[in-house]
Symmetry: C2
Subunit: 595 residues, 2 copies
Amino acid sequence: MTRYTAPLRDYRFALFDVLGLEAQSARLGNEADRETVEAVLEEAARFAGQVLAPLNQAGDEHGCSFDAATGEVRTPPGFREAYARFVEDGWQGLTVPAEIGGQGLPLMVDAVFKEMLDAANLSWSTYPLLSHGAIEALRHQGEDWQKQAFLTPIVEGRWTGTMCLTEPHCGTDLGLLKTRAEPQADGSYAITGTKIFISAGEHDFTENIVHLVLARLPDAPPGVKGISLFLVPKFQVGRDGAMGARNAVRCGAIEHKMGLKGSATCVINFDGAQGWLVGQPHRGLQGMFIMMNSARLGVGVQGLGLMERATQNALAYARERLQMRALGGPKLPEKPADPIIVHPDVRRMLLTNKALTEGARLLAAYAFAQLDEHERGTDADGRARGEALAGFLTPIVKGCLTEWAVECTYNAIQVYGGHGYIREHGIEQFARDARITTLYEGTTQIQANDLVGRKLLQLKGAGLRLFLAEIERFCADHASDATLAEFVAPLGEAAADWATLTQEVVTRAGTDPEEIGAAAVDYLFCSGYVALGYWWARAVAALRGGDQPEAFRSAKLETARFYYGRILPRRLAHAAAIRSGAGTLMRLDAAAFDA
Amino acid sequence: MTRYTAPLRDYRFALFDVLGLEAQSARLGNEADRETVEAVLEEAARFAGQVLAPLNQAGDEHGCSFDAATGEVRTPPGFREAYARFVEDGWQGLTVPAEIGGQGLPLMVDAVFKEMLDAANLSWSTYPLLSHGAIEALRHQGEDWQKQAFLTPIVEGRWTGTMCLTEPHCGTDLGLLKTRAEPQADGSYAITGTKIFISAGEHDFTENIVHLVLARLPDAPPGVKGISLFLVPKFQVGRDGAMGARNAVRCGAIEHKMGLKGSATCVINFDGAQGWLVGQPHRGLQGMFIMMNSARLGVGVQGLGLMERATQNALAYARERLQMRALGGPKLPEKPADPIIVHPDVRRMLLTNKALTEGARLLAAYAFAQLDEHERGTDADGRARGEALAGFLTPIVKGCLTEWAVECTYNAIQVYGGHGYIREHGIEQFARDARITTLYEGTTQIQANDLVGRKLLQLKGAGLRLFLAEIERFCADHASDATLAEFVAPLGEAAADWATLTQEVVTRAGTDPEEIGAAAVDYLFCSGYVALGYWWARAVAALRGGDQPEAFRSAKLETARFYYGRILPRRLAHAAAIRSGAGTLMRLDAAAFDA
């Protein structure tokens, strides 16, 4: 049985001491004060630790089961009851604006709230996660009656939402999709087609499930410019919000997966199902991007949750497991051997996990904070700034945090040694669960192409410039600060090289578009490592004002030093790879790979 | 269903064109000529591809089953029959010396032979693998009657061997082991204790299983200097070789694991079982190291096998899957989209896999070739040189090839996108199977400590000096070779920095032993990347003499360029981490990690 305790002290440090949540809330007119936020986090920590976490391993063992005769899915033991509790306690609406029935807490809080749910039970947490995308799409693009009929029950958690994008022949390339929508006399559409990989596409949590489906109208132009977005509920819903007949939507199968077994990944068949257009015809991609950006940040946080939980367990094991003596002589001579946390490389793995996890937490919360700025800002400039930063950071959060989750869950197994490979210890589950996060909601490759192709080139690097300016300001502000000198100098250098590298990529892409894809993933990692360098320096700077215990302060300082000494230099390898150019990737003929 | 075809052309290139197997065989008096070796490899490729590979996925689905009432293990469907065929065809003795009943082929051939078995079906291949260690231990340390009674049936494959080292409280730290051996009147010993994680500890392949067991004699000094090695067969064996009564050895359980499910990982209980001392009392570690070095190179090759198979499947998928258009414009305008192999980052992943796999193949075969030099060399200097090189390369082969297997199987899933996460495609199995290889037979951490602590410090870097001299000679020989200039210059630089780094680590370790462990894993990777740089340069140099098709030659050249441009620079990050010193790992108090 693995453990999980939400790291509340680090959450408080991140939100209040480093990111200044109080000042932001005051500025944006959010009424939630520090006391309220802390109380909410403590309550959420109890829910995550006591209700969700104990169901995690059994969820992996049992998985979901599918009844082909009825098309119904049964979720693992306890999942349904935990969801009922979640709804009863009103968690679904935590950061949803009050005007549509939520509690309106800052989205920055959502970053740590979601982290807790994901750490406690990633499979379970996929069910409410997808509702969030549906809420966003409906909120921004739904007609009034749609908002009334669909939004309220989803915000309350009585119904859940899904995102139906992928088809067997198209994942990334949505321009290829074939699902059709035929206009009906009553203003609805008959939706026909098959969607795959639909997370939470069918389950036993709620009385209704609202699918948000991409499909083509009869007059749709080919490609992505002919895609429209539809609401297709499992049970039909009238304009008055009343639930009606079973709709012609049915789960055809659930996938057997490497991990995330408690989450139902469904094939959903639409057989002339009644659907309702959301937004403009042929403009469905817009609504999809609203859902997807939300989901992408959410998946980044999934990675973070797994990093935290894997690390907690690896740390506990490293303190308990006695094996060999410290290289400098016995630390616990009265015991038969020393705990393995004395060994340098066990520490290297634990510190890697700690540095990535706590750094990633700041990065993620900061990205969510930009959504607050964007959505709730009081002036247009601030809103635009928030939008640019959130857009720039989204692929970095999604791409890097999920890749780091793979690394940290790998390290956790490695700390356990052979025991980490045995299922009953529950550690290998984290690695299997983590493995989906670099794939769904756009692979790491897609995130990287979004970062370089869209955020740097199409949007001319607006978000990067803002972020770099923030780093430069921080470096300038602390230029003569002796305590921070060990961080400020290498951070300044790393940021400057990042800027130069960006310029090189942009320039080369001007003559050869392949340079975008050739640089993309290494550029994504470079960005992530420099960004975490900034957040670790900020963390050290924030220690000054806080009232944390000495052990917490020294842990932050030493972890920052570890990060700068042993993780930040990874950017050198990535930069060199980028600078080798597209030729190293593109010259070899596709037929000659296995010549 | 995944595919597997042994890469015979690359094997021929590696063994004959790059590594000069013919010249080595002539020098060492090995009679196997090129024609024989090629015929053997072709036959092995058929066995691996047609008999073993088709059983791999079903083996994962079914796993092994255990009957608690009888203590018997049933292996997955077809495994037993495949083993019977393996024995019938005489494969177990392929590279075993003729004087003990083998066919005496060069051990260099074993590197590619084992790779084929492992690629085809890693779980299945763990059964014969462990016999190899038993053969080595008996051959070097067994008494004559033991050799006659036990060695012959193991070489013939009629019995299999195991290595019983680990106990619940001790894996790495064998000094803690508790299993006892009581001398009996007939010269045998009564063995009592529990061993865990015993691969192939029980199965339905053979009529007998020979356990090689570490245990303590009653007068044993504490720690590793009080460990002795015993032969403990499942069925008692008399000095005349006749099989007798069932011995008091019993499988108590099999583990449920992340992967490698077709391989029975057993708890083995010894309850006063009859055993025979192998080698000197209290000197069992010697015999164990003989077994373990053989097993470690074998596990490195397991990594290689998975790299090859994962890459073959990822490549096939990348050519078939149509998704998005090439950044420079459509490549297959007549199709709805281009195959994903046109995308730069898909190529980056495939080329990473290709570069690591083919480079690792040369490194592994070269390490095996050093065993040939050591065992079959005609002069003492050559044998010592072979021993030093093999000893130095063993932790690099085991450590790096298994870590690269984790990376390459990761990449294969990533190329498949979400489909890679679905079990039926068979790709995620490779990643789960690979995950054991960095753990068993000594974790990556243990390999790294062996490399730095033993091979560099205790043995004063003899193997490294030989290997560096070989690289320097290669660079000098090709100093004015215009075709190789793009490789020789950076290789010389990388090797020189590796030498400098080594000196720095050795110097620092002189005043602080923690520096050994603090440098170890990063030093292991540095070594692996420089070594592969050498082998890629050697591969390009070897193209000159060969008669390979043009596509093969250009693939080698471009892959070498890719390696130098995008993989070799990883050493920079590892070197920087090492140079940050032990302080970044050791300063933080163990209690403060989660303060």
